[in-house]
């Protein structure tokens, strides 16, 4: 057994073995959770208040006769675009945008999309177009919903202008947020917009918590699409993520005890 593991480790890039184990474990847990769901077992799915609040926010906009504003923030808007490390947040946010656009189409609320990710324009346009199509209102889709800004400061200025002119009833700032999180967050509050923000950028979390009504913190941004869809496989993925968390917590506790006792098994394992 040890020989087989050592042989396998020969092919694995040094220092990435533990990451590979986590990935495989995640995939196995995903399969198990899906099997459990298929056999009729109930899996607890914790609530995401920010996602539950989306319908309320758009309902508010419909009642007030005001538009809804959405932005991905600046992440993924420069240096490699969607292929950068901020790209996944933009892609994950586009799934939430699809849900927001669908509700906007359902309640005849005008949607305004401000973005600076040039390579995400076709993706965004298609997501919004299909949302209108799903609601049976393809004629209501207008490509001019999407406003592109070629930089962070131009985008922030543009959003400040949009918020002042249009006074949206709700504003969604979900994606790889940078300094704009506090600027547009406060500007949205000044026009009394219902604000939902989400990011995995830890340096902006304090700002979105301070400015927003509801927040999606870190992994919640990635889990949001699964939470909205409620499809068994998607629900299974959230459950499996929680199981991996328990395993990691157990490894952390065991690691603290063993390292304190001078046994360096866990640190050896993490460095493989």
């Amino acid at each position: 057994m040890t020989g087989a593991i050592n042989l396998a480790m020969e092919f694995v890039v040094e220092g990435r073995g533990f990451q590979l184990v986590i990935l495989l474990m995640t995939a196995i847990f995903l399969y198990v959770a899906h099997r459990l769901l298929k056999t009729g077992k109930e899996i607890y799915l914790r609530k995401l208040p920010a996602i539950d609040a989306i319908e309320e926010a758009i309902g508010r906009a419909a009642e007030m006769g005001k538009p809804v504003h959405y932005t991905y923030g600046a992440g993924g808007g420069w240096g490699g675009g969607l292929a950068s490390h901020q790209g996944p947040q933009v892609v994950a946010s586009s799934s939430i945008l699809g849900y927001v656009a669908q509700l906007c189409a359902r309640y005849d609320v005008r949607l305004i999309m401000n973005m600076m990710q040039a390579d995400a324009i076709p993706l965004t346009e298609e997501v919004i177009r299909l949302a209108y199509l799903r609601e049976g209102k393809p004629e209501k889709f207008d490509p001019k919903i999407i406003n592109y800004f070629p930089g962070q400061s131009p985008m922030v200025t543009g959003i400040l202008g949009t918020l002042q002119r249009e006074r949206p009833a709700a504003s969604f700032h979900i994606g790889g947020l940078y300094y704009e999180s506090v600027v547009i967050g406060e500007a949205a509050k000044l026009v009394d917009a219902f604000l939902v923000a989400g990011t995995a950028n830890t340096h902006q979390l304090a700002f979105i918590v301070a400015t927003s009504d509801y927040v999606l913190i870190g992994e919640e941004l990635y889990a949001a699409a699964a939470y909205i869809s409620r499809e068994p496989m998607q629900v299974a993925s959230i459950a499996s993520e929680d199981w991996v968390k328990f395993v990691l917590m157990a490894i952390t506790v065991i690691g603290i005890i063993l390292e304190s006792a001078g046994i360096h098994v866990i640190s050896w394992m993490l460095n493989r």
Binding site: V91, A131, L248
Partner: protein, 216 residues
């Protein structure tokens, strides 16, 4: 043909192959695959660069619409934007390190960007004011911690009480860091799961193809 190209299965297959190759190359020593993955990464940079033209077309479409309709309060700015874009493009094609392009970037665009960034301080103040109102126990704890950290970062803090910088350091190193790390670890896990879902085609929200309830 167009309807075939719109089929999500095609995109899911491409995404699956690209992500699978990238992961294999990341975890295993496969020199032949490394070269292919590097080539794909170069392509992505190329695509992002071409996308800038797409961005320009998207912006031009909206601003031309405003100009054509003479939208009140909008069209003069749209006209100015398109005019300046044309001037900057021509100047940039002539030389991007000297002349007008370099001048306007250095003395117009950069100071304007810096000015906007500087306003962040004022927005942080108003955000902090609302966040620091002690409406609940949690908000009160945040208020006390925030005041201590602020005082710890100002020279007056040490004058008021010599231990304030020590408390500030403790709060930042031991009070805050573990929670940030916990969020980072869970965000990384969420990203792994998201990538898995995208790779195997469970997650289709980014393609605009949703589940019954929408999303996903």
């Amino acid at each position: 043909m167009a309807s075939v190209l719109r089929r999500p299965e095609i995109y899911i297959f491409i995404v699956g192959v690209v992500m699978g190759a990238s992961w294999l190359s990341y975890f295993f020593y496969i020199p032949e695959l490394d070269a292919t993955v590097k080539l794909m990464q170069t392509w992505s940079v190329g695509i992002a660069t071409f996308a800038l033209a797409l961005g320009f077309l998207s912006a031009a479409r909206i601003h031309l619409y405003y100009i054509k309709r003479r939208t009140p309060g909008m069209w003069p700015f749209s006209a100015w934007l398109l005019f300046f874009t044309a001037i900057a493009t021509i100047a940039g094609l002539i030389s991007e390190t000297t002349g007008f392009y370099s001048w306007q970037f250095k003395w117009v665009y950069t100071p304007l960007g810096a000015t906007l960034y500087a306003t962040t301080g004022f927005y942080i103040c108003s955000a902090a004011y609302r966040a620091f109102r002690a409406r609940s126990t949690e908000a009160a704890v945040l208020l006390v911690a925030g005041i201590l950290v602020m005082l710890g970062n100002c020279t007056i803090g040490e004058v008021l009480w010599k231990d304030i910088p020590v408390i500030n350091e403790w709060l930042q190193l031991y009070g805050q860091a573990p929670f940030i790390r916990a969020i980072l670890v869970t965000a990384a896990l969420g990203l792994i799961l998201y990538a898995l879902r995208v790779m195997v085609g469970i997650e289709r929200g980014y393609l605009g193809t949703m589940g019954e309830a929408g999303g996903g």
